[in-house]
């Protein structure tokens, strides 16, 4: 039984005088306790909007959420605002890409952490500040007693992100959504934060939704990976299968276009032609068709559905002409 169940999620932004934007459509995935699920895709593909929808943080006006989001059996899309507020921070927490925008710049870090503890865990002031210090210690912030008194701008980017994770952990959430938590950070700091998140999943059985554009991050920690393009999931598989033999041309294209540290130099990279802006609406066919090397006639005659791969069990694909696994292996050899 999974903890979070997202089914056929669609999010449409409408603004007067503009065409409606269908930012997310037909997104289905689930996360169980102790599991890490990755959402990967380039900027603008709908990752952040999906996470905001789960958190109930989309604007009430102008954003229409369709489909169902079930958390531990409770339907979130129709949950009253006050109930949602109760869940948020206590059972579901989120870490944002930019730590500065999600911390209050005029309140010391310590007060921000203790406030969460007092509100959601009914602690008194003394207990809360003790717990806050131990949380900061746990996320690897040295000298926590001093840091608690400091303001967000006095911390480095990496420390701010860790403070934010500490706040997210303050309530021992059952579900943690991390939206590009390390994109703004250096690799050495990124490694620290990812290690922290992995520990959290293993030690407390938290369910983790890891949102990123970095395939390397996904390869190291996600049990299953969902690749998104233009608002829809185009491929879903375990990380082992996905990286071993990607079947969707977009996934394969992404993998071929990033240089790998551990591979011999000298070979040319194989970029995906065009840019993510070159799409066609899903209603007219496959949004990736304008950039796809595997495109066939039917790709622009109707939209492909996300269906189980014929060749492999437990691997879903949204593609009319996926990459041949045999051909793939020939390439990798």
């Amino acid at each position: 039984m999974s903890l979070l169940d997202v089914r056929d999620l669609s999010i449409v932004f409408s603004r007067r005088g503009r065409r409606d934007v269908r930012a997310v459509d037909e997104v289905t995935f689930s996360v169980a306790a102790g599991e890490t699920v990755g959402l990967v895709g380039e900027s603008g593909c709908g990752k952040s909007v999906t996470s905001l929808a789960i958190m109930g943080l989309l604007p009430k006006r102008g954003a229409a959420v369709g489909g169902s989001i079930k958390f531990d059996g409770t339907e979130l899309t129709s949950l009253p605002a006050d109930k949602m507020r109760g869940l948020r921070g206590r059972d579901i927490a989120m870490v944002f890409q930019d730590p500065m925008t999600s911390l209050n710049p005029v309140i010391p870090i310590g007060l921000q952490v203790t406030e969460v503890l007092r509100r959601h865990r009914d602690m008194d002031a003394a207990a809360a500040s003790k717990e806050a210090a131990s949380l900061l210690e746990r996320v690897g912030i040295p000298d926590p007693a001093r840091r608690l008194k400091e303001y967000p701008h006095q911390l480095s980017g990496g420390m701010r992100q860790r403070a934010l994770i500490a706040m997210a952990l303050a309530c021992k959430p059952r579900l943690l959504i991390a939206d590009e938590p390390t994109t703004a950070l250096d690799v050495t700091i990124q490694a620290q934060i990812l290690e922290l998140l992995k520990e959290l999943v293993v030690d407390s059985g938290t369910a983790l939704v890891m949102i990123t554009h970095d395939l390397g991050v996904v390869a190291g920690m996600c049990d299953s990976v969902h690749v998104m393009y233009s608002g829809r999931i185009v491929e879903r598989a375990s990380r082992w299968e996905l990286f071993e033999a990607p079947r969707h041309p977009y996934t394969a294209g992404l993998l071929a276009s990033v240089p790998r540290l551990d591979q011999a130099r000298g070979e040319k990279l194989e970029p995906i032609p065009g840019s993510p802006r070159d799409t066609i609406p899903w209603t007219q066919g496959c949004a990736f068709a304008p950039r796809c090397r595997n495109r066939i006639e039917s790709c622009t005659q109707g939209a492909p559905e996300l269906v189980a791969d014929k060749l492999r069990p437990d691997h879903d694909l949204r593609c009319f002409n996926p990459i041949d696994v045999a051909e793939q292996e020939a390439v990798t050899l």
Partner: protein
């Protein structure tokens, strides 16, 4: 649907871009989508039309008196079918005076704003463009001017220059110089550090050309927004100075601030006389403010697609 559809979709996307055009055109397109901008523009347009065509619109001369309506000393007739807004204490048609008053107010607003803006741009350009000791000197001077409360400063200048409408306009203009200077200079300092200015430097473009050709034009939009907002405050400040009796204009020539000042003694007996110029000042200032604020949003690069 076929493969060509995909290609044409890309082409369409590219064509949509081509319609883009320059930055100002884009900003204008964003501007006309804002309701606040439209309301502001309507207020401003009414104000300008009334001011320009005052002789055609006003039913009476602003100085003509109609003593037949005055039934005795202290009697101030209210609105009637012949005098829509009634008469003032001297028997002049208030509606006509309001319409002619728009002229004066517009002139005061535009001239004092232009004075302040040109002065501010010159100082800001020198400070932001040359930097170093020029910048330091100008900025100390500007800081000093800013340290004096605006209205007090204007009163001082107006009093020094003697009672006249011109001195009111100069006073208000001078008070606004440091605001513009500071804004432009700050913006230029930021833009000078921008990558495109660095890129021009790395191409060997001359410093004067970088400053005048790149940095200055890219620093102007907040100054223009400020100009629109200043028009609003200038009208109010001019009213304030007139209210204090510093405008010294011919009392026969109507001006909203002066009308407000002259009629305050009838506040209890004929409150409408105070109300009309008051509301006119507020609405025209509001119009410019709405327009200015919308312009600020429209010009903000963050709001670009």
């Amino acid at each position: 649907m076929s493969l060509q559809v995909a290609e044409s979709a890309i082409q369409q996307a590219e064509h949509a871009d081509e319609a883009g055009g320059g930055l100002w055109r884009e900003a204008f397109r964003r501007l006309v989508r804002k309701p606040a901008a439209i309301i502001g523009a309507i207020f401003v347009a009414i104000f300008v039309i009334v001011a320009v065509f005052a002789p055609l619109i006003a039913p009476y001369s602003p100085t003509a008196t109609d003593l037949s309506q005055i039934k005795g000393p202290g009697h101030i007739p209210g609105p009637s079918s012949t005098h829509w807004l009634g008469l003032d204490d001297l028997g002049r048609d208030v509606f006509s005076r309001m319409i002619y008053g728009a002229r004066q107010s517009l002139v005061v607003g535009v001239v004092s704003m232009a004075f302040g803006m040109v002065g501010g741009i010159i100082l800001g350009l020198l400070a932001g463009g040359l930097g170093g000791w020029v910048d330091a000197t100008i900025m100390r001077f500007v800081d000093m001017m800013l340290a004096i409360p605006g209205l007090l400063f204007a009163i001082g200048i107006a009093a020094m220059l003697g009672q006249s409408l011109v001195s009111v306009m100069i006073a208000i203009g001078v008070v606004n110089i440091p605001v513009f200077a500071r804004l432009l200079r700050g913006q230029m300092l930021a833009q000078r550090e921008a990558d495109y200015a660095l890129a021009a430097k790395s191409l060997g473009v001359k410093r004067s050309r970088i400053i005048l050709g790149h940095v200055f034009p890219n620093s102007l939009s907040p100054v223009i927004v400020q100009g629109t907002l200043t028009l609003a405050t200038a009208i109010i400040e001019a009213a304030g100075l007139a209210f204090l009796g510093l405008s010294g204009a011919d009392p026969a020539i109507p001006e909203w601030g002066r009308m407000l000042a002259d009629t305050q003694k009838f506040l209890t007996s004929a409150p409408q006389l105070v109300f009309y110029p008051g509301i006119a000042i507020v609405l025209s200032a509001l119009g410019f403010t709405l327009l200015g604020e919308s312009l600020r949003e429209a010009l903000d690069p963050k709001n670009r697609r």
